[in-house]
């Protein structure tokens, strides 16, 4: 058990170190996130009455696109020199690698969200009419939902043609209940019209179910040639 977490930690710190050294990918992703927000601002008039009701959806769609860009490069470094084979051949448990990658992606997507959220608040003059603190569990659970399945399907896409296209293709259908939950919860909190409680429970259930499924099946996916 100790070696599982030490391998996870070693992999995570290695990934952070590598990401930090070649900041190009990170910078490009940050800029992409900014662009997505700007496009939305031009497409959905911030001054309109309806904006408060749809902005929950806008925010999460923007997060989703940013997440896909981040997720697509999850395994890029491992593929470059067949490092993934070195991992497969070692006695290290597959799930240690998976958990490390999910945590790394979670951090990365959270950074992107931390950039985009204030921009939305500014452009759309957002104020939460409901309990604003509830946005934190929604953001955490929602991001985890996208990232845990995204990392898993990114691994699945490794063995396919059109890898970058396969990831969203596999991820989006399965993520629909989570997206519905995130959007509805955020909208309810912002408009204050309804309770977000059920959706937070839904997201929690989703996260538990799919994290378990991913952990149970990741080794199968990793060992597929």
């Amino acid at each position: 058990m100790r070696s599982f977490w030490s391998i996870t930690l070693a992999t995570l710190t290695k990934d952070i170190r590598l990401e930090w050294r070649s900041k190009d990918a990170l910078n490009a992703m940050l800029f992409f996130s900014l662009l997505v927000v700007v496009i939305f601002v031009f497409s959905f008039d911030p001054l309109a009455e309806e904006s408060r009701h749809i902005v929950g959806g806008l925010v999460w769609v923007a997060f989703l696109f940013a997440a896909v860009v981040a997720l697509n490069q999850t395994w890029a470094r491992e593929l470059r020199n067949q490092v993934l084979d070195a991992y497969r051949v070692s006695p290290a448990p597959a799930n240690a690698l998976f958990v490390a990658k999910v945590l790394g992606n979670f951090l990365l997507v959270s950074v992107l969200e931390a950039l985009m959220a204030p921009l939305f608040v500014i452009f759309y003059n957002l104020r939460a009419l409901g309990p604003a603190w509830q946005l934190i569990p929604v953001a955490l659970l929602g991001t985890w939902a996208l990232v845990v399945n995204g990392t898993f399907f990114a691994a699945m896409s490794l063995r396919t043609r059109s890898r970058e296209l396969m990831l969203p293709l596999l991820l989006f259908p399965v993520s629909i209940p989570a997206v519905l939950g995130m959007v509805a919860a955020t909208t309810n909190i912002l408009t204050g019209e309804n309770s977000a409680h059920f959706y937070i429970v839904l997201l929690l259930t989703y996260d538990v179910v799919f994290t378990t499924a991913c952990l149970a099946l990741f080794e199968t996916v990793l060992q597929a040639e």
Binding site: R159, M166, P173, V174, I176, F198, V209, V221, A224
Partner: protein
């Protein structure tokens, strides 16, 4: 078996014709919707057929994954038996019985669970080894076709009756849409995958899809309680004569689905046999260098050196 196919095909055609006649002329006109409602005799049976096929795909996928190791195979069997036993007994316990929504009888729940468990063992018995995967791919493809019919007939029905093509809060239609998306992505994965373990990856995706469906259902169900939406397809009870025609229609659709699955299954089996034979044909030939250069088989895409 081969002779049975044309006979079954004719019977199915007759049954479909009979169902059509019943749907269009014999079934009574609906009091509220008029004759437009008759599309239900295609919409609902397609849905039931699609769900049945997808469910069989789920069972086949789970078994395929479980069969990878003898230990997981045994574990899966015991889990299914446990589910069957629990599902057959629990609905009858008084405390649980009280919690059940009206219209849901303990006996129907018990029967459904037992059928599910029975289906698991039936599939395992009649589709050993690789044929599980053949069953999975067949049911996925045919299921997607029927699911498409549901998604096309749904809006066609909704428009004249409700004035809208689509209601996002309609639980059944939206769940069907998500199911369709999941299985289309399943088929795309199969098509695009270069892996030698494509079958396992697809089975994994089917399991994820199956876990997703109840969550979709609940998320939309709750969404609807906060934002009431029109229900396409209506709720409530049905005139017994309409139900009768509906069941005839479903029977015809099931026979048709069975026929299509059968031929698709046979086709896929043949295709795989040809592929294997082609790959191994040189096993029978001598490893002669001159012969080899004249054959000069260069792998075009796959196959590392």
């Amino acid at each position: 078996m081969k002779r049975a196919f044309p006979i079954l095909a004719v019977l199915t055609a007759l049954l479909l014709g009979y169902a059509f006649y019943q749907a269009m002329w014999v079934a009574p006109t609906d009091a509220l919707q008029g004759d437009v409602y008759r599309i239900i005799y295609y919409h609902v049976p397609s849905a039931w057929t699609a769900f049945l096929l997808f469910f069989i795909n789920f069972i086949a996928s789970v078994q395929y994954l479980a069969n990878a190791k003898p230990s997981t195979q045994r574990a899966a069997k015991w889990i299914v038996i446990a589910i069957g036993v629990i599902g057959a007994i629990v609905p009858f316990i008084p405390q649980v019985r009280q919690q059940l929504p009206t219209g849901m009888y303990p006996s129907s729940i018990a029967t459904t669970v037992l059928i599910i468990a029975g289906l698991y063992f039936l599939v395992g018995r009649y589709f050993p080894g690789q044929s599980l995967d053949l069953l999975a791919v067949t049911t996925a493809e045919v299921g997607v076709v029927f699911c498409t019919i549901v998604l096309v007939t749904g809006p066609i029905w909704a428009r004249p009756v409700w004035g809208i093509w689509w209601a996002p809060g309609d639980i059944r239609l939206t769940s069907t849409l998500v199911l369709w998306l999941i299985y289309v992505s399943y088929l795309v994965l199969r098509r695009f995958s270069d892996s030698a373990q494509t079958q396992k990856l697809a089975a994994v995706l089917a399991v994820f899809g199956a876990l997703d469906v109840p969550l979709v259902y609940f998320s939309i169900w709750f969404f609807r309680t906060q934002h009431p939406q029109p229900v396409i397809g209506g709720g409530g009870s049905m005139d017994p004569r309409m139900l009768h025609v509906l069941l005839i229609s479903w029977m015809a659709f099931l026979c048709f689905a069975f026929l299509v699955c059968w031929s698709r299954y046979g086709l896929e089996k043949l295709r795989r046999e040809v592929e294997e034979a082609e790959a191994l044909e040189s096993l029978l030939e001598p490893a002669d260098p001159s012969e080899r250069t004249s054959k000069g088989r260069v792998p075009l895409s796959r196959g590392p050196q």
